[in-house]
């Protein structure tokens, strides 16, 4: 087992352990902090996959944006030291059963399917110079050029649509969360 594989297994153990703690912790603030660790671990997984731009976006948007937003809303809406009520025992039992069944089914399906790169004779397990060359060119320049290209495989239309969506979400948030003064009611 090479050093790279060891790094992958450590990272995945970290992600899964902190994710499990995030959904089971009884203190909501600790739960948010475990979520922060899990998202950072996923950014590390992207670094391991040599997708540096995605990892940077993950850190900036998730760790720097969404988790901070969640922590703010925790402080705005409840006493952070208070324990959450324990979930009903029957609900825990049935959701554990459902989740384990779903996981087992997906694992069986994944095991039975042989993933092959299309148009590339060298598989993911092949060692040597041929396998070394199959890296994705995920540099920022390449991503930006294709993101704003108007040719056949360009993504300029989804890019514009998503900017409209972000604007609409921003205005919608302000409209929903705005405080109505009593005399206006």
């Amino acid at each position: 087992m090479s050093a790279s594989a060891v790094v992958f297994y450590i990272l995945s153990f970290f992600i899964l352990a902190t994710g499990l703690l995030a959904v089971t912790s009884r203190k909501i603030f600790r739960s948010a902090i475990w979520l922060l660790f899990s998202l950072t671990g996923i950014a590390g997984l992207y670094f391991w996959l040599q997708m540096e731009f995605i990892a940077a976006v993950q850190i900036v948007v998730y760790v720097g944006g969404i988790v901070v937003l969640i922590i703010f809303s925790i402080f705005l809406t409840q006493q952070s030291g208070k324990d959450l009520p324990a979930p009903v025992r029957g609900r825990v039992l049935f959701s554990t059963l459902a989740v384990c069944a779903g996981f087992a089914l997906t694992c069986v399906l994944l095991r039975g399917y042989a993933f092959r790169p299309l148009g590339h004779p060298v598989g993911g397990g092949g060692a040597g110079a041929g396998a070394e060359n199959m890296g994705v060119d995920a540099s920022v320049g390449n991503i930006g050029a294709q993101l704003l290209s108007t040719s056949e495989h360009g993504y300029v239309l989804p890019f514009e649509v998503i900017s409209i969506l972000l604007l609409a979400a921003m205005i919608g948030c302000i409209v929903i969360a705005i405080k109505v003064k009593p005399e206006d009611k």
Partner: protein, 104 residues
Amino acid sequence: MNQVPLSHILFVSTALFFIGMYGLFTRRNMITMLMSVELILNSVNINFVAFNKYLYPDKLEGVFFTLFIIAIAAAEAAVAIAIIINLYRNLHSIDVEATDEMKF
């Protein structure tokens, strides 16, 4: 990274997805349910990036899908938190069992 087969990355993302499902089933607090949804979205992102890396190494579509999913997740989290704050102002609770005003 060539020593790790694609299926192991998919096992990790599947496990993360079902951890998020477990949180969504058991939690009754809206903020913690939102956290579970974020975990599920992240597991999907891992899948897209891994498929792009292993199966289509000459293309970038998985990267773009991941970027768009991250943008939509940010918008979704912002709207969800605005709704949560508005609900807290009206009901003084963010438990989903308390929001039964529109129940028929």
